[in-house]
Subunit: 676 residues, 2 copies
């Protein structure tokens, strides 16, 4: 009855409103706003959008679309109707506890539909690439869901694969793939994050019982941020100092059960919650204390080192530093998936913000003209289009990194470490910057969680500090470059690794007077990026050496040279990303595709030159040449403008994974008493 009354009222109001509209229109100075889909108002694309999507996503397109559809079809993924379209996006108004439970249910659904088949039992290139593709798709829906899956498969499962041997593989891999057990990864402690070697958990071998005894000796040694530990995980890999016979053998990894099958916490294990976070609340991060936890000797993951039943420490790698390195190397997978997912997050936000900017108007130039589309303002173009070009570049970089990872050989481990460190840092920073700019470009709408962009900021913020703090990673990049430099100079041999072979050639020269056509050439772009890297590496080496000559240790000298190290790390990254772009471009034969890629590549490089003051500071660009570059950035904005819609459509993200403001946002906001 109440409902009937309510509907009657709405109907009456609607009729009143119709009349009112007619009256108002008669006297109003301008008609009301109406929505025009950008597909009808924008010019047709000269390049084939599906070919571009293939180039971007790179692999497993059919598998990707299958998982997108799986998610759209289930009520578990919170489908909502807005303006006649369905959107799937998590309900971020849920409490942490609710988000965790729904995340676990979504995992069960994906498991039941075979999404994880072969993720740990499969072998080979195809299998690896499929796994990476599906994780990317899952992450487009929700970062919590991807991280919770990633911890289970890549960290727990990866530790078993890489640090374990046959006995561990047989026992755990299939059980993990089927979620018969749920794994987590106990590396970080309250007192030690990036500095893993400093962790304080202690494991002692008891040769009488043939067991290891794991202990949390003090509060700072509690395991912290352990994803899965607070609610769901049954098992964990514990990273710990290993003491054998009174001697500390450094960090090793052990398998421990922490909950029984019914979810009860095991004896001698204490677990507490990490609490509410600004994002990733679907991940149950917990803290773990070990109180004389006894595990069988076989639970040491012994691919690098082992302890014999009578208590002898055995390792093929004698040098503790190298041993530690061997333990860390497989963790690269984390940086690879983080880098790739950061790019997809940037793509989501750009697709939404650019579509909105093609339908939202603000201010008229003359009193009686229509208001101007946001993306028709040169300033708005300059906010979004360079980020769009950079996202293309970083997409190629992520694809390159994934292949480098999947096809890795022992010879490529160093390159993989440096490139993954660099790309992880640069791509995640790029994502955060893109999200912020897109959020502001959408005004208040960017703050509504159903519109995704603002929420992605909270969900992805963690990326700049987990699996290696970005600043620490970039320092490692510079240190690795310095290592190459010193090795080459010492042995008087040419540079070979890390893409530094350009240092063997003569120093490139930049024309005194750059022209528009020069700055768009691959040759110039390559030259100036290499010039900067080469010069900064020379500078950095000289400064470190100068400090050493003054009596500083090498470590202190590097720390004191942090600004050159930062500039150098960025120089390496920009040059390396540029080269992945050129590589991708060279593999394309289709002319319209090649044409737009060339525009995007030039925008990527020129906006890099324009934004990074290093080019002026170190004299790679004169003031006049910098002005030429800046003008060309503006020209490239105009050139990209007509392609903006096609360029974001090429990201291949289904409409349902974007948000209401990317489509008819007037209809999506229309009065509807039934709307939740």
């Amino acid at each position: 009855m109440e409902k009937f009354n309510f509907r009657t009222q709405v109907l009456i109001r609607h009729l009143q409103q119709t009349t009112a509209t007619a009256t108002a229109a008669a006297i109003s100075r301008s008609p009301c706003l109406s929505y025009a889909p950008p597909e009808t108002s924008e010019p047709p694309s000269p390049f084939d959008v599906s070919s571009m999507r293939k180039l971007m996503d790179g692999h497993n397109l059919v598998d990707r679309d299958w998982v997108f559809n799986l998610m759209i079809q289930s009520k578990l993924f919170n489908p909502k109707m807005r303006g006649g379209k369905v959107f799937v996006v998590p309900d971020y108004n849920q409490s942490m506890e609710q988000q965790r439970e729904i995340t676990m249910k979504r995992i069960q659904y994906l498991l039941d539909h075979g999404v994880f088949d072969g993720w740990l039992t499969g072998r080979g290139f195809e299998s690896e690439m499929r796994k990476l593709a599906l994780l990317e798709v899952i992450e487009i829906f929700d970062h919590s869901l991807a991280i919770k899956i990633g911890v289970h498969f890549f960290l727990w499962g990866g530790a078993i694969q890489f640090f374990g041997t046959k006995r561990h593989h047989d026992k755990w891999l299939s059980a993990t793939e089927n979620y018969l057990i749920k794994g987590c990864f106990s590396m970080t402690e309250l007192g030690h994050g990036s500095n893993v070697r400093g962790i304080e958990t202690v494991t002692t071998y008891d040769s009488k019982s043939g067991e290891f005894v794991i202990n949390t000796p003090c509060e700072s040694a509690q395991k912290y941020w352990i994803g899965g530990a607070a609610n769901h995980a049954t098992h964990t890999v514990v990273f710990s100092q290993l003491n054998v016979d009174g001697k500390n053998e450094g960090v090793h990894a052990f398998i421990t059960q922490i909950r029984d099958a019914d979810g009860n916490i095991c004896p001698n294990i204490r677990i507490a919650d990490c609490g509410h976070k600004i994002g990733l609340n679907g991940v149950d991060n917990g803290r773990i204390w070990f109180d004389n936890v006894r595990i069988p000797r076989e639970n040491l993951l012994n691919s690098v080192a082992d302890v014999s039943p009578d208590g002898k420490y055995l390792s093929a790698i004698k040098d503790p530093d190298q041993r530690f390195g061997a333990f860390m190397a497989p963790l690269t997978s984390g940086r690879v998936t983080i880098a790739a997912s950061a790019v997809y997050s940037a793509k989501i936000s750009l697709a939404i913000a650019i579509r909105y900017s093609l339908t939202r108007r603000a201010f008229s130039i003359t009193p009686d003209s229509a208001e101007v589309l946001l993306l028709d303002y040169p300033s708005h173009q300059h906010r979004l289009l360079p980020l769009l070009a950079k996202t293309y570049a970083m997409s190629f970089a992520a694809n390159h990194l994934k292949l480098l990872y999947v096809k890795r050989t022992p010879q490529l481990i160093k390159t993989l470490h440096v490139v993954s460190s660099s790309f992880k840092a640069i791509l995640t920073w790029h994502n955060m910057r893109t999200l912020q700019e897109c959020r502001e470009a959408c005004g208040g709408q960017g703050l509504k969680t159903e519109n995704r962009i603002g929420q992605l900021k909270g969900e992805f913020d963690v990326q700049s500090t987990f699996e290696g703090d970005n600043n620490v990673l970039m320092q490692q990049v510079s240190k690795a470059l310095l290592g190459e430099y010193l090795a080459a100079k010492k042995r008087n041999k040419p540079f070979k690794d890390l893409g530094l072979d350009h240092m063997n050639k003569s120093c490139p020269t930049i024309p005194l007077q750059l022209t528009a056509s020069t700055v768009r050439s691959v040759q110039f772009q390559n030259d100036i990026l290499c010039l900067r890297e080469r010069d900064l590496l020379n500078h950095f080496a000289a400064q470190v050496s100068k400090y050493q000559a003054q009596g500083e240790s090498k470590e202190s000298a590097v720390i004191a040279s942090y600004r050159l190290a930062e500039d150098l790390g960025r120089a390496f990254s920009d040059r390396a990303i540029f080269q992945t772009f050129v590589e991708a471009e060279n593999n394309v034969t289709d002319v319209p595709l090649k044409n737009i890629l060339s525009v995007l590549r030039s925008m990527y490089v020129l906006v890099t030159l324009d934004e990074d003051a290093a080019f002026l500071r170190y004299g790679y660009l004169t003031v006049e040449n910098a002005e030429t570059v800046r003008k060309e950035v503006a020209n490239l904005c105009s050139e990209m403008r007509p392609h903006a819609l096609a360029l974001v459509t090429s990201f291949g993200i289904p409409d349902a994974f974007l948000s209401p403001i990317a489509f008819d946002w007037i209809a999506a906001n229309s009065w509807s008493p039934e709307q939740d």
Copy 2:
């Protein structure tokens, strides 16, 4: 009984742990981490912290402390014990609905304790300053609480004060101050935000009944983002096009009741929710439709214009542009309070991040040495200390702006508009940048909502686009400067307003070879900031004039010159902020205070020169001079380092409003089964 068992288990574990610790310690290579409060490890401050706080907060210190204590004393403010200290911070794991209700209860508590006494009925300087101070303190606890109060007092109440006349003042001000009614402010619509003149709501005068009839003619005209509308507000000020006798007289403001005293929505009003946001979920933002809502003629806020009973439109201001300007001018209060609150948010995050960096260690330089305190890394100093100096500068800027606002005269309206636009944009951007850097500097701890920094990002993000999008505001600054320029040139008169009188003097010259002592002098700092502003204003005017000569309209020419406009807006802002710093410094006589202020001022200017490529790009700094500046920034980091603790203590934020990681974070994270 169950509780008893649980406690026994904990006790047993504790005993086991104690033994385990003893054993582990015997064989461990290093003792466990322990927390040392920075107060004991840092050198004593050469300057008086309470004098510095007085300088920073500027006014109403006793009132501020009173409200801090009011909040600490009530359970409504969610006090939590962590590591033996109490912290008050909202529970952000609450749903939007819960956050809204607790926010309203907190308002009631503050009301009951007399916090709002005189906020609308008080008059004069003292009363205004007290109100601003108390709002700042409230905002240090929670932005939602401050915004909900701000909408009621500053927007609704301010509209009555400024747009209304005696009849409105008598009827509404006291009722508002006592929350007998709850007000909201309906300006923004779905289709129009920054461009207020484009709003589509229509109000028609019906001379037969002597009433206004308010209508929402179409969906894009629905009022949007109206804080208070979704749940609590009983009344609103509606901004609407006014139609009298078929003629549109432009935007005017009207009072309308939207809910009765029992909270039922009034007839012909429809209200919907704006939904969940990334922050400010304690504010019930709603959407409103008006369906032929009839209000008495007296509800037009008629300080600028009125309609006579027989339907004559009357206004003392004949020019519609000027009339619109008169309506907007009082809204400056929003920008003033936003700018001030942004600085307090930056202070919270810096106080937390710097205190954490003085107690958190990472990595050793040599294998057996202790790990290094984060703030002893030059790179970490460079991340935080320039932002600290900038926050001091912006604090002086905010104080200056508040005085300019409270002491405003008709002659100062233009200055107030330009300075408030500039400072609102720069200070809110600075806050977001500072929050991001502080979040990353705290690693994962920065993501826990109980540690505040990460959450502040979501809570304050709205500041860069509400009450005027920052980019739009900065364009207005540049346009105002251009207006001054054209007026001065046209009349051949000296520059007078907006601090441009330096343009009347001869152009400052920068020494070819800067020295460390030169770059620290007020003279040089003033010269180079004025030089940039002067030169960019000349450039900007020349470019606009060039485009006009090519046939562009002035408006289009300005739009096309957006990059110069952006650079100029920043030049004006940096110079204006610098001058507020010098002004504050000149009023200080205490030598130790003067000394540290001089270091902070130099850091503020030099890091500005170092970060903004414009100084190299436009040739104000040579490459060599830029290098001198950069070196001096590093020196200033070292000089500031010993004062970092005292500098954040001087912010005067009570411990309870910081967060657990600012104090003994090991104790705060210790195992405690009772912890919620």
